[in-house]
Symmetry: none
DNA sequence: TATGAATGAGATTTCATTCAT
DNA sequence: GATGAATGAAATCTCATTCAT
């Protein structure tokens, strides 16, 4: 695998740092190369072009992000707990990585359509995790049986994403993790049976 | 106000069209000028720079969008109905204006940080409308009294925004308005008192 | 026509000068722009890209070159005189324009395949002039009737071209025009009836 | 000599193949190395630099080409026959080696001035062969005594070269060798005594 | 000898903005 | 007010060459 090569990871890590500090449009290849301690041309030994660097940043970082969430949730027994864990991990990981939060919430969204499509692809497994929790909640009779899974998934993802983006744009001045219980309560309220 | 001048509006309308058809990065000043039937230099008689054109597009279009929502909701008596009307108007207006939906959901999000801050400013009155509905629902004892208004507002806006973005990215192949009841039910579920 | 625009001609003339002085591969767009007294970007208002500049140099210069030859030869009555005039003009014009000779004989031949095909196209009318002289000579019974016109044309053009190239590579240290009679005699020897 | 080393020849042969298939500008050192089955760096153990590879290709290939012509013509008794043999060999060898024809007629001509000077040097022995035939013809009283040898040599070489180049550019769609008699007749016509 | 990963200089082209008319 | 020709800064990517192993 290419990520055994140390230079590959050096470049990815440098890219996150440079993008977080200079913004998407201020992140020239030469700046990333310098931050990674390699020559400009070296970037092109590991990546097809600049867009490939950015996609790879997202793939690597979001890949880990999603994997952790998938693993943590899988260890919980019911849908409500899984949802809570998902929110905790989502907020927790982005709280813990200042640069990653800026890059994923603000900077990479400025990318062009082609890059956006690839980013959406990377996100798919996360959306599947959400879908499965919703389905499980319905099967376990904890959630309402008439839920429209895609719509619910859009609500959950849209809610979490908007909350994190607000937090990043407010320069992370408050504690994101402390909002987990309230967010969980809101979402459970939306999903639970009322009878 | 500068929007009494006919060329100002010509340019705004041309910009929406050009951005929707060519994407954010394919929308050069010269292209907008040509579509508006004016010379490149004329743009600079009405706008400070390109960013000002884009902000103005958002201001004008979202200004109308928000105004309509504010007016429609104000005619309803209680928070639940107001929320329903808000969702209807939000989905309805974007359903009705193909170009506007693409521009606001996809293209203008590719803008840089500075433009994004200005766009957020334009959105503030909309967020206030949501806040007021939430507060009213609490006061009317329809919503739970322990709701964290900003958080709830983020959930509502994040949910609606994510749903519309998905719909635009799926090339508007399904009917957005038919989802209003389900979305409303979900949000009401999240907000309502359970006792 | 685009060559009414003064900048267009400024750029063409500058390009000939720059190519002659710096060689094909030493002729960056910025160097041509500077020599023409315009900004780099101005080049692209008049030419699609760098290749278009080079093709146009050849078109304009060879266009005039060929036109003069066509006109001069047309005023002669028989094929032998026409051939003499053609050689005189061919050698004469390139003798008179130091830069043009270097550019057409040495530098533009270093171009890539695509440019070479376009250059060949420009040369076509010249080859036609030669063909017509050959045919006329045959009809007038001055040249042998069994001549293979394309082959003869290749001999004539190949001969003149090789002689000029040698002269340019020897840095034009001898007088090219003084060779006209000998060259003419050789070619007439090849073409004339022997009975 | 360095061409006792097998890798040297591997690289030369690979270079011809790569240049014929990819064109002069598409023939990177790494591509030649790969085709030769050696590492990039190995090229530099056998050649000073890329230009040296190209010059060597020309030297080796044209060396053989010229040697054969010199040998074949030396076995003929008079200038006319020698000229015929020279044309036959010139056309014959290039007809027989598809890649060599493309490389020498089209691709290597795109090289820069310095390489062109070296290529001219390689050609010198061939030009001497031609010169000797011309001088012999004059001495033998077959050719006109007033011939300017360098000029005649330029005519002969220019003619043959132009004919081959045309044939290569027309993608070798017709038989080059069948033109030998006509070409010979033309050149003999130019050189022969007319009394 | 042989390797091949790393280097880094260098050039085309775009496009927001200006300003003389 | 209106024009649009001209500006020129700025960034990606290639590829010949090197050198530690």
């Amino acid at each position: 695998m290419r990520n055994n090569k140390p230079k590959y990871n050096q470049i990815i890590e440098a890219a996150v740092r440079v993008i977080a500090e200079n913004g998407y449009h201020g992140s020239q290849v030469s700046k990333i190369a310098k931050a990674a301690g390699v020559a400009d041309g070296t970037i092109y030994l590991y990546f097809k072009n600049k867009e490939d660097v950015l996609v790879s940043v997202f793939e690597e970082k979001m890949g880990q992000f999603i994997e952790k969430i998938a693993e943590s949730t899988s260890q919980k027994q019911n849908a409500e707990e899984k949802l809570q864990t998902l929110i905790e991990e989502h907020f927790g990981q982005l709280s813990a990585d200042y640069y990653l939060a800026i890059v994923t919430q603000l900077e990479l969204r400025q990318s062009n359509y082609s890059l956006r499509l690839q980013i959406n692809n990377v996100l798919k497994p996360y959306l599947t995790v959400i879908d499965n929790i919703v389905r499980e909640g319905i099967e376990q009779n904890h959630f309402r049986s008439d839920l429209n899974t895609p719509l619910v998934r859009q609500m959950i993802f849209g809610t979490l994403d908007e909350i994190v983006t607000n937090w990043v744009m407010k320069e992370q001045k408050y504690d994101l993790l402390s909002q987990v219980p309230e967010v969980h309560a809101l979402l459970i309220g939306a999903l639970s049976r009322t009878d």
